[in-house]
């Protein structure tokens, strides 16, 4: 022994203290919340330690795996998938899972994360590859559902519950995207052209319809007007006949000299009109003076008649 002035019993005591401390350090295990530690007795799994303070027997028990029992996110790297209509698309996904059985996930599978990643990737290929591009782009939900059930079932033996698998991005190549955009544009243009034609057709119909209505109305108006005109002429003729009749009746009953008075008045008015016309200094008058004189004579006769009465 080293010459430290310490007896062998003393050395033993010191070593024993050290060993004790080591044993306590090794035997007391504090498992944090959210983890499950597996205990191996001589290399064989015996139990899983839940969160909290635990004592394991040193020398024979060791901690095997420190398994994360929280829900975890697994990024699935982008990969190229060929759809059933031969379009090459790049997809990536995200997968949420939780270890429910620490023992199974530690010992049933060697590298859980790599295993899960590859499983999700191959399943994405299988599910997405069996679809056409259009379906792929519009049926995310059903893709996610199918993936989830498949992956969940496959990871059952590993003590893992897959809570969701989400396709993050489906991106077709650029030229395909352009073609899709063109198709969409053409579709819209077609619709616009159809709508235009439809509009023009309807407008033409409406115009023709209007013209027809107008013609009909006009014809009807003319007809009505003709009817009324005829009626008016009839009425006029009737009135003239009546007037003539009344005049002749008046003449036959009264003095015919009254006629002369009217005629004379008109004659004189006519003469006045002719005389007051501006552009005629010379008036050609095919007047029969005798007529005027006759009318004057008629007036004198009237006067006479009044004298006799007076």
């Amino acid at each position: 022994m080293f010459d430290l002035g310490i007896t062998q019993g003393g050395v033993t005591a010191i070593v024993l203290v050290m060993l004790t401390l080591l044993i306590i350090f090794m035997g007391a295990k504090v498992v944090p919340q959210g983890y499950g530690w597996t205990v191996e007795r001589f290399g064989r799994y015996t139990r899983t330690l839940p969160p909290g303070l635990h004592i394991i027997i040193p020398f024979i028990d060791t901690i095997g795996h420190r398994q994360n029992m929280m829900e975890q996110v697994l990024d699935v790297p982008p990969q190229e998938v060929i759809s059933s209509d031969n379009a090459m698309v790049t997809t990536d996904a995200v997968c949420f899972f939780q270890v429910l059985d620490a023992a199974k996930s530690s010992y049933e599978v060697n590298d859980l994360y790599r295993a899960m990643q590859n499983l999700v990737m191959t399943n994405i290929r299988a599910v997405v590859g069996s679809m056409e591009l259009d379906q792929m782009l519009s049926n995310r939900d059903s893709i996610n559902g199918t993936l989830l059930s498949k992956v969940d079932e496959a990871t059952d033996p590993w003590g893992v519950k897959v809570t969701r698998v989400e396709i993050r991005d489906i991106s077709p190549p650029a030229d395909l995207v352009e073609a899709m955009a063109n198709q969409m544009k053409a579709e819209r243009e077609k619709r616009a052209a159809i709508l235009n034609a439809e509009g023009e057709r309807q407008a033409a119909i409406a115009v023709a319809e209007g013209e027809k209505q107008a013609a009909i109305l006009r014809a009807e108006g003319n007809k009505e007007a003709a009817f009324r005109e005829a009626e008016a002429r009839e009425r006029e003729a009737e009135a003239e006949a009546r007037a003539t009749q009344m005049v002749s009746e008046a003449i036959s009953q009264g003095n015919p000299q009254a006629l002369n008075y009217f005629v004379a008045q008109k004659y004189v008015e006519a003469l006045q009109g002719v005389a007051s016309a501006e552009n005629s200094k010379v008036i050609m008058m095919p007047l029969e003076a005798s007529n005027v004189i006759g009318s004057v004579a008629g007036i004198s006769e009237l006067l006479n008649a009044t004298k006799i009465k007076g």
């Binding site: 504090v30 029992m69 429910l100 969701r164």
Partner: protein, 150 residues
């Protein structure tokens, strides 16, 4: 070296115990506590029996440390494991007691039930037709044990 051990006084043990307690407070969740208590016990014993051989002191300290650690773990296990949410991180156990309506039937004692947006494997000791009301009564790892509710 030997002088240090031969001149061990109760104060040394007391200081050691308090230093260890300080480390325990800083966070080692219990495994330094037993050692600290061992040191404090040794201090008390040395007050009572002043002329004790130093290797015996060390022996007593080592034994006391182990015993106190075991005692602490035994006696305070319930206290240590007390939690506001004992079912944290245990998905299947959190579902126990929940009642739901079966979407698909349980045949040959096995079936699938949908909870939230995930499917769970369900086990029952009888066939249950679809559309009937069930209750989750237990969980075994990944499998939920269900029974029909009338």
């Amino acid at each position: 070296m030997s002088e240090f051990f031969t001149e061990l006084s109760p104060w040394h043990w007391l200081i050691l115990g308090m230093v260890l307690l300080g480390f325990e407070v800083l966070g080692s969740a219990g495994f330094l506590l037993g050692i600290a208590l061992g040191a404090l016990l040794q201090a008390v014993i040395l007050f009572v029996v002043p002329d004790m051989a130093w290797h015996v002191q060390l022996l007593i300290f080592a034994l006391a440390s182990v015993i106190f650690t075991l005692l602490y773990w035994r006696v305070f296990r319930r206290f240590n494991d007390r939690s506001d949410q004992p079912l944290l991180n245990d998905r299947a156990a959190q579902l126990i007691g929940r009642q739901l309506v079966l979407a698909g039937p349980i045949e040959n004692g096995l079936g699938k039930i949908q909870i939230g947006d995930t499917l769970w494997r369900a086990q029952a000791d009888a066939n249950i037709p679809a559309g009937s009301k069930i209750e989750i009564i237990d969980s075994q790892g990944m499998v939920l044990i269900v029974r029909q509710v009338d």
